[in-house]
Symmetry: C2
Subunit: 197 residues, 2 copies
């Protein structure tokens, strides 16, 4: 199993553990490339790793700009700074968008699982007005959501498959670059190298 | 004076003030576009606003990837999340690189001022081994820096000139988009609009 997950995964799990008393430790910044070729950057919430992998899960509203940006250029870089342990993870990889139009049954189930794992308050946001569009004066404040209903159409699960991780520890001044490649039997494998911080 | 600085500047100054007890409140994430077209994202330190403007200053080593990335595509987006006040500023704009080859005397002086404003510890980093390159086993730990010496060749001042700011307050659930344009007399002017969060 460890062959397909990156050796940086344990460093990340340790950082999550040692910073878990801070609510914002599950927030990171996700950079994408905009349709105009300029970078975009926003804070998003870490929604866990896909089971038995090192793939990073994020929830988002299908109506946000990042969806059209990722359709245009599926690559992203996460910058995750842990404010208590002074560690930074820069995770670069390709993002898969799992929405309701996804034909893969397994992925549809994964999206449904993510939907039920999030709070009712989070789920209600997907019924609200379109994010990023001008506020209208007359807007319904709350929508009704049936608890038994599966994910609504606007709910999307983003899955980032890392292929490079740059780890920096500002306390020990250690920096390690993890790079993935393919082994002879076609499996993903990771190499690491200490680099200057 | 206020005509050339964005109306979001006061919101930013307020956030800096109300989060000033947190060391990491002066850190933000800077996204650029890599030479391969993929986004890059890293934590950098806020080094103040250029006097009487709303331009954001950052220090960096000339040998880092972000320099060659910015030479290729000068646009960047800052994502600045304030963990105590729950405010996010996404600042998009063009970056000017001020290095020793800069022919503008005013900009050379600005760079020199930034150099002397930073700590001796910070300044010593610019004499260290090249950031991002593999660690060599035999490396000098410390270099000697003459206090009276001006900025070393690797010291660069980055100046981001914002042209769009997306402000989000997660406590009040308020989101405002500030957009700059040119007035009839050719001066930069800002408009703002409340948008859905």
């Amino acid at each position: 199993m460890e062959a397909v997950t990156g050796p940086w995964k344990q460093l990340l799990l340790n950082a999550l553990e040692s910073n878990s008393h801070l609510r914002h430790s599950s927030f990171f910044q996700l950079a994408t490339v905009g349709l105009n070729g300029r970078p975009s950057n926003r804070t998003v919430v870490f929604r866990g790793l896909e089971e038995n992998t090192d793939k990073i899960q994020i929830h988002t509203d299908y109506r946000t700009h990042k969806i059209e940006e990722l359709r245009h250029c599926p690559y992203a870089e996460i910058c995750w700074y842990f404010t208590d342990s002074w560690e930074q993870f820069r995770v670069n990889g390709k993002i898969d968008i799992l929405d309701e139009s996804n034909p893969d049954l397994n992925e549809l189930q994964q999206r449904e699982k993510s939907w039920y794992a999030s709070s009712l308050k989070s789920r209600l946001l997907y019924l609200g007005p379109s994010p990023g569009l001008p506020c209208l004066s007359e807007q319904q404040d709350q929508e009704f959501l049936d608890h038994s209903t599966g994910p609504v159409g606007t709910f999307s699960l983003l899955v980032l498959d890392p292929d490079q991780v740059d780890y920096l520890n500002l306390k020990s001044n250690q920096r390690i670059k993890f790079t993935s490649g393919l082994s002879l039997n076609g499996e993903k494998c990771w190499t690491s190298q200490r680099i200057n911080s």
